[in-house]
Every structure is written in structure tokens, then in C-alpha cells.
């Protein structure tokens, strides 16, 4: 479980995150939603320690992460897997080497065991047989899947996904969403997904936090989101004609 308590972050005079608190549960796909520039990615970077907090707490299973010593932080980070928006695969390494990297770095598994684990992770994201391709030879969706395979290679306790559907077609988006949800449930991972894709929200949103102007405006589930009595959330959810049609259809 990850808890964030009253976290604040400003860049110069600009307040980006303003007193946000939330609990992310294991075995559930926890979603952070909100329009572009509302502070979602900053919150995520604060959670994993890529930005320093101005104030507040980020608790990983009760441990206040920002207050830990460098070595203790490193131990927590070994339990984190992260899927970046653009994949962030290492360009100079093949898909297999990318997935193998955390195993090489942090485990004492034999070569055979690592091979087995790599192939298992690749099959889990439906990339069997693509071991020797370089990131430049992969499509956008394949890059995301390869990055997801790398993120889960070392059996993480916490999985962060920064806009896993951005730039993908609806069909591939669904594949990625289902993968994230399946992996989360199967291994009881605390998964945090940033998205502004309403399909994803309605598909996998089990525990949702809506961020607006750096603040936590609403929390709930995918079933509650369409009925929520919150103007800012309404404006976000029903920004598209399509969603308005869906809502009308659901009502009727």
C-alpha cells in the first residue's frame, strides 16, 4: 500500500501540487486522472523521489520514503517498477537485454533462470520471439509492452504507469490496460496509473483520484464517476461528444 499525505510542491512561485492526500491499494488499479498540466506526473515523480517534496509524506507500506537514507531508498526502489510515457527503454540494448537488466543488476539468478524469467515476462506481455529486436525496431504499443515486461521483471511490489495509453490506438490501449489490470491482480501489486483516457478510466478504474489545478478534487471508483456530483470532474469526463452520448445512452 502507498499513502500520500498532504503533499505540496511548487516550482518557483507556481504551486503545482497543493495538499494532496490519497491511499493506493494493493491488488487494485489505482488511477490518477485529470487534464494535461494538472500535476499528475509531478505527483508521480514526487512519489518515486524524482522530485523533492516541499512538505508532506509518501508512505510505502508505512515507511516515509522521502525521509529514508539513500541506501534505504534504494531498497524501496528495487521494489518499484515503472512504465514511462514513452517507454524509456535503453536504446543500446535489445528487448531481452532491457528486460534482463534489473535481474542482472539486483539478483543472483543463474543465466538459465534469468532466461526463463525474461521469456516469461515477454510472453506475459505477448512479445514472445521479439527478444533480439532493438527499441527502434518496435512499434509504439510494442515499446510500451516491452517496458511493462521490464517493469515487472523483478517482481515489483509497486508499479507506476505514466499514461500507458498515450499515442496508442484504442485496440492496443485496451490490450495494455488489460495487461496492467491482470498483472496487478495476479501479483497483488500496488499499481498507480496516470491517465486522461476515459476508456481506461471506465475499463480499469478501481480506485480513482481526480486532480484539478494540483488539488485532489474527487475520489471514487469507475462506477461512481459517471454519477459524481462534481462540476470540475463532470467537465473533464464529459469533455467529448462521445462521452456525452455514452452517458445519455446509459441513462436511457
Amino acid at each position: 500500500m502507498i499513502e500520500i499525505k498532504n503533499i505540496h510542491k511548487s516550482f518557483g512561485d507556481r504551486k503545482v501540487v497543493d495538499d494532496v492526500s490519497f491511499t493506493f491499494y494493493p491488488g487494485k488499479t489505482n488511477l490518477m486522472i485529470g487534464e494535461s498540466g494538472c500535476g499528475k506526473t509531478t505527483i508521480l515523480k514526487l512519489m518515486v523521489g524524482l522530485h523533492a517534496l516541499d512538505s508532506g509524506e509518501v508512505l510505502y507500506s508505512g515507511q516515509n520514503f522521502p525521509a529514508l537514507q539513500a541506501k534505504e531508498k534504494q531498497e524501496v526502489r528495487k521494489q518499484i517498477g515503472m512504465l514511462f510515457q514513452a517507454g524509456a527503454l535503453f536504446d543500446s540494448q535489445t528487448v531481452e537485454e532491457n528486460v534482463r537488466f534489473p535481474l542482472d543488476m539486483f539478483t543472483n539468478l543463474s543465466r538459465e533462470e534469468k532466461d526463463e524469467r525474461v521469456n516469461f515476462c515477454l510472453s506475459r506481455v505477448k512479445l514472445e520471439g521479439r527478444n533480439n529486436l532493438y527499441p527502434s525496431e518496435l512499434s509504439g504499443g510494442m515499446k510500451k509492452r516491452a517496458a511493462l515486461a521490464r517493469a515487472i521483471a523483478n517482481n515489483p511490489k509497486y508499479l507506476f504507469c505514466d499514461e500507458p495509453n498515450s499515442g496508442l490506438d484504442p485496440k492496443t490501449s485496451i490490450v495494455i490496460d488489460e495487461l496492467i489490470q491482470d498483472i496487478t491482480r495476479e501479483y497483488n501489486i500496488t499499481t498507480v496509473v496516470i491517465t486522461h483516457d476515459m476508456n481506461s478510466v471506465l475499463e480499469i478504474g478501481e480506485n480513482i483520484m481526480f486532480i484539478h489545478k494540483g488539488k485532489n478534487y474527487w475520489t471514487g471508483t469507475k462506477d461512481q464517476i459517471l454519477k459524481a456530483d462534481n462540476q470540475e470532474l463532470y467537465n473533464f469526463v464529459f469533455a467529448s461528444e462521445f462521452m456525452q452520448q455514452v452517458f445519455k445512452a446509459a441513462k436511457s
Partner: protein
């Protein structure tokens, strides 16, 4: 103030670079990869430049020595002194600063802007150590060999041009490159090579590591790295020359 900021940040980065590696076997593999990339990858350009420069120095020396009082073996002697003391350690290092330095800065810079460095950090890897230490070790290990090859090829280039243009005989050239040889001068040359190898890799890595922005900034970092590395090579060349050659 800006200068002090960069110096301070550079030393803080070096402190992270030289902290204990997470796993020696992974770092060792990276060192081998970098030796191939930095050293073997630069062999062709170093070889071509050395042969031609050796030839040019020989022709220039022969052109300058018109007095019958100057023996013709002075052509070989001059070529050796120029190649060993200055051309191979300094000028080749400046060329490597352009080739290897820009490559390192743009590689690490691109990793920064595409979040690959963030990915390493989140995994719990000391990204500075993993990315920079193998490059420094590889360059410090392989550059002396590269420069030794450059010295040999430079002298060979001088021999070929000296003989083919009739500037001197084979005997005179070979006698010249052995005449008044002082082995400590090799210590001076190779100390420069190792120092410059460290500067090239660490300064270029510094500029790449702190790239902020996109593709444009990667290009700017690469340019800054080459300029700063070249300036530092010239400054340290002066300092080391003063230290070694002043009795």
C-alpha cells in the same frame, strides 16, 4: 558564480560516479563495451590522422633544414619529438574530444531527455555510476594504447614520406628517431594521455547528464562538452608541460 556552480556540480557528480557499484559484473561488461566503443571505434580516424601528420611533419622538417651544418637525421629526430611530445598525446586527444566527447554528451543527454536515466534511478541504480564510470575507466585504459599506435603510425608515416620524397635516407631517418631518446618523455606523454582521457569522458558525461529539455538541448550539450573539453585539455597540457619539462 556560474563557473563555481558548474565546478561544484561536476565534483558532486564525480562523487556519485566513484561510489561503490551495485554489481561489479554488470559494470565490467559495460567497461568492455565502452573500450570497444571509445577505443576500437576511434582507431581508424586516429590511424589516418597519425600517418598523414607524421608525413607532413617529416616534409616540413626536411624543408626547414636547408643548412649543410644540420645533419639529415635531424628530420627523423624532429618528427619523433613532435609526434611523441605534442601531436600524439595532445592533438589526438583534441580530436578524440570532438569524436568521443560529443558522442558521450549526446548519448547521455538523449538518455536524460527520453527518461532513460529516470528509469535507472527508479530501479534503484546509481545512474551516474552506471553510465559514466565505465566510460572513464575504458578511456583511461584504452587511450594510452590508442596513442601508442598513433605514435608508431606517425613515425611510420614520416618514414614513408621521408624516403619517398628523398628528404632523407632510411638509415638517417631510423637513426634520427632513435637519437638522444630520453625514456622519461614517454612518462610525460602518457601522463598527459591519461589526464586528457579522464577530462574527455568526465566533462562530456557531465554536460550530457545535466541536459534539460529536448533534442535541441542535446545538441547544445554536445557542443558545450566539446568546447569545454578542448579548453581544459589545452590548460592541463600547459600545466603538465610546465611540471614535467621545467627543471
Amino acid at each position: 558564480m556560474n563557473l563555481f556552480f558548474h565546478i561544484g556540480r561536476y565534483f558532486m557528480l564525480m562523487f556519485r560516479v566513484f561510489s561503490k557499484p551495485e554489481k561489479f559484473s554488470v559494470y565490467w561488461r559495460q567497461i568492455i563495451y565502452e573500450i570497444n566503443s571509445i577505443g576500437i571505434g576511434s582507431l581508424t580516424i586516429v590511424a589516418i590522422i597519425s600517418v598523414f601528420m607524421g608525413g607532413v611533419i617529416t616534409i616540413q622538417a626536411a624543408f626547414g633544414f636547408t643548412s649543410p651544418l644540420v645533419p639529415l637525421y635531424a628530420v627523423g629526430f624532429t618528427t619523433r619529438e613532435s609526434m611523441l611530445l605534442e601531436f600524439c598525446p595532445t592533438i589526438v586527444s583534441l580530436i578524440l574530444a570532438g569524436k568521443v566527447g560529443s558522442n558521450i554528451a549526446s548519448e547521455i543527454g538523449a538518455m536524460r531527455v527520453t527518461e532513460q536515466i529516470d528509469a535507472l534511478e527508479i530501479m534503484g541504480v546509481n545512474s551516474a555510476g552506471y553510465l559514466i564510470l565505465p566510460k572513464i575507466i575504458a578511456a583511461v585504459l584504452i587511450n594510452p594504447f590508442l596513442i601508442a599506435i598513433s605514435m608508431f603510425l606517425g613515425l611510420a608515416g614520416g618514414y614513408i614520406m621521408g624516403i619517398s620524397t628523398g628528404a632523407c635516407t632510411s638509415y638517417e631517418y631510423i637513426f634520427g628517431i632513435q637519437a638522444f631518446f630520453e625514456p622519461w618523455k614517454l612518462n610525460y606523454s602518457f601522463t598527459k594521455v591519461v589526464t586528457f582521457a579522464f577530462i574527455i569522458t568526465s566533462v562530456a558525461s557531465y554536460y550530457g547528464y545535466y541536459t534539460d529539455g529536448g533534442a535541441l538541448e542535446v545538441g547544445k550539450s554536445s557542443t558545450k562538452a566539446v568546447v569545454m573539453t578542448s579548453i581544459l585539455i589545452l590548460i592541463f597540457n600547459l600545466i603538465l608541460t610546465q611540471l614535467f619539462l621545467t627543471h
